[in-house]
Symmetry: C2
């Protein structure tokens, strides 16, 4: 079997072996319901508490500020709807053009229900204009939702600064930090963000589990209602194995934070620099400084992203064109369009996203394979002419 070189960690990650290990006993040995009144069920309640503490620890929060949800999408949906319920008289939402569909599609639904949505533009590097942001905040603004790091380019928004500005105006601030958590240090103790979304499967935890951080004192309305679970903040029997797995994943992520910012960053930079050096007519999308250490988004002119993926696939190399959550569509990514990346360049974009499991020799292999793949595809392209390069450079 061909070895898989998995460079699609912003789509999903492998569950760390130590995470699977701590989950296993809770499937068919300690399978009790923590709400039950017998000690068999009760004993798992303590494990849930420990997991909550580990999650809180990774993001510098208090355990009671952590609500377990089923995924980042649920956390995002919950945050926005809760903020709107807290200020029923306010009908304005500020967000950006490059948010995850969990925010973007929800806002589009809300706009049909009479909410006014400001989708802030980004510049060519994927950065926000903070003056424009400030001007967008009005007395009618109920909530701001800005992602901490973009899933496609890795570019950071200055969410801590933006949250401070919102706080000064009495506006709730939510951040989708699904891509940022575990890759950069985050401490909710030293910022003004009211709500934060995190997803298990982006940080080597299981799929089907996420959290919503809700700052103590923030008015909160539940999204899923039913039983008394999560202190009446999220109904539904607790997903015990996944909660315990997420706790472990957060513990591991904390230990790996420095690796993300040394080894992973170095490998990403090498991949990026070598491709830039070896392949003509390609460019990096997004600001190269204010960016996650594991992500690079590269546009190759005169080729289709899908064709590149297909040819990489033959070598077992996994990456993305656009984001996994919007793929399947032939539209170029909404993120690259918002950045004004020319249509042809956006169409030929590939996101490589590394993890702490990425190995030097894997990166070497990709560096060796990409130039001939692009060369071959360009030979087949009616748009690529031998003098393109000279004409455009």
């Amino acid at each position: 079997m061909m070895k898989t070189i998995y460079l699609d960690n912003n789509a999903t990650t492998q569950v760390a072996p130590e995470v699977v290990e701590v989950m296993l006993p809770y499937f068919h040995e300690l399978y009790g319901n923590p709400s039950s009144m017998h000690s068999f069920g009760g004993q798992v309640a303590g494990k849930v508490r420990e997991a909550r503490e580990k999650v809180a620890d990774l993001i510098g929060a208090s355990p009671e500020e952590i609500i377990f949800t089923s995924c980042g999408t649920e956390s995002d949906n919950t945050a926005i709807l809760s903020a709107l319920a807290a200020h029923l008289e306010k009908r304005h939402i500020v967000t950006s053009r490059v948010e995850h569909p969990a925010i973007k599609v929800l806002c589009s639904h809300l706009s049909k229900k009479g909410y006014r949505i400001t989708e802030l533009p980004v510049n060519g590097d994927g950065l926000l204009d903070m003056d424009q942001y400030e001007r967008s905040l009005t007395p009618d603004t109920a909530v701001v939702s800005l992602m901490w790091a973009n899933n496609e380019t890795g570019v950071f928004f200055p969410v801590e600064k933006a949250a401070k500005m919102a706080r000064e105006r009495g506006i709730l601030f939510h951040s989708d930090a699904v891509q940022a958590v575990g890759k950069i240090p985050i401490s909710m103790m030293i910022n003004d963000i009211d709500m934060l979304s995190l997803s298990g499967h982006k940080i080597h935890g299981p799929k089907g589990i996420g959290i919503l951080y809700v700052r103590k004192g923030t008015k909160f309305s539940p999204f899923l209602v039913g039983g008394h679970q999560e202190k009446n903040r999220r109904g539904g029997t607790e997903n015990i194995p996944s909660i315990i797995g997420l706790g472990k994943a957060c513990e591991v992520a904390k230990l790996n934070l420095s690796t993300e910012n040394t080894t992973v960053r170095r490998l990403r930079d090498r991949l990026e620099n070598e491709i830039l050096a070896r392949v003509p007519e390609c460019r990096i999308n997004g600001d190269r400084v204010n960016r996650l250490p594991n992500t690079t988004n590269i546009s190759f002119g005169f080729v289709e992203g899908e064709s590149i993926l297909l040819m990489m696939d033959e070598y077992g190399i996994c990456a993305s064109s656009g984001s996994a959550c919007t793929s399947g569509s032939l539209q170029p990514s909404h993120v690259l369009r918002a950045m004004g990346v020319p249509f042809t360049m956006a169409h030929g974009s590939i996101r490589f996203s590394l993890s702490v499991y990425s190995r030097e020799e894997e990166i070497d292999f990709v560096i060796a394979k990409i130039p001939p793949i692009i060369g071959r595809l360009r030979e087949l392209s009616p748009f690529w002419k031998p003098d393109n390069q000279r004409a455009m450079s």
Copy 2:
């Protein structure tokens, strides 16, 4: 270590070993995102399809009528809110007094938003008055939600008949079948139910996964919005291991259906009959004919359910007083109150819920332990007098 005798299967079940086995490879070997465009991610899409077919097969549905959710609560919430969105002009909901909190609490929230809720009463056996049901249906009724089997007593509602009556009036019908699926045969092909909720962890599948069945042609509005997953009907990265596990659990449940209705029923009946014969002043709550084969709800006069649980716990016997989703409160169960069970009897109620893993010798053990436990507690009770029994019988 003391052996656990687990008779709390309506709260949650152990994950079947064969279910855990099929889940394992999807944590850290085949961990791809099915939305990805590489074959590593794509190969799990086929497994999701197979799982969907197995779920559909258990309830006589088509695979495209199955939406994977994170739990029964999410399915219940989604069904009601979708039905209301489909008929914005209709402001009336019909349900019962004994529904799960996922319906009950949601309806209570909706009543504050201007919806009119009819909570149908039940009689002393937990049964509905179908004439009263019929009279409750009005041109303003958007949706009916009635559970297939009650979680605390196991009593069935005639949901197929009720759905037919709703259909004739153009009213959407939802059933929370979380307790019924896997215990009795269900075929959506031969009934008029529009939406049906199912939960993985009640049928020896994993926690954190459920489904909402939505009949083909039913107008549907998603609850979680975001990515294109589940054909735009439920955003969020698919919980692959749990989806695959749920598929297997449904396959196993189908094979075990006859065991539920022979072995499990016989064990339950024996437990119930022996306790009735050996313990004075106790009664079965709920109709003994129209009932799940695995559940018995027994009230012991002059004792507290919590004390019984505590003493059973010392022998490793797990059961419930009230339901897991409402426990932690000192109120007697809303289900028993709705049935008019006298306060003192409701307070001393215990639900035993068996499964295909329940063994004859376990039931023998419980039958042997219960009479002395009740006897001892009554000796300590200020309300129990030696002549109570004579006076009341």
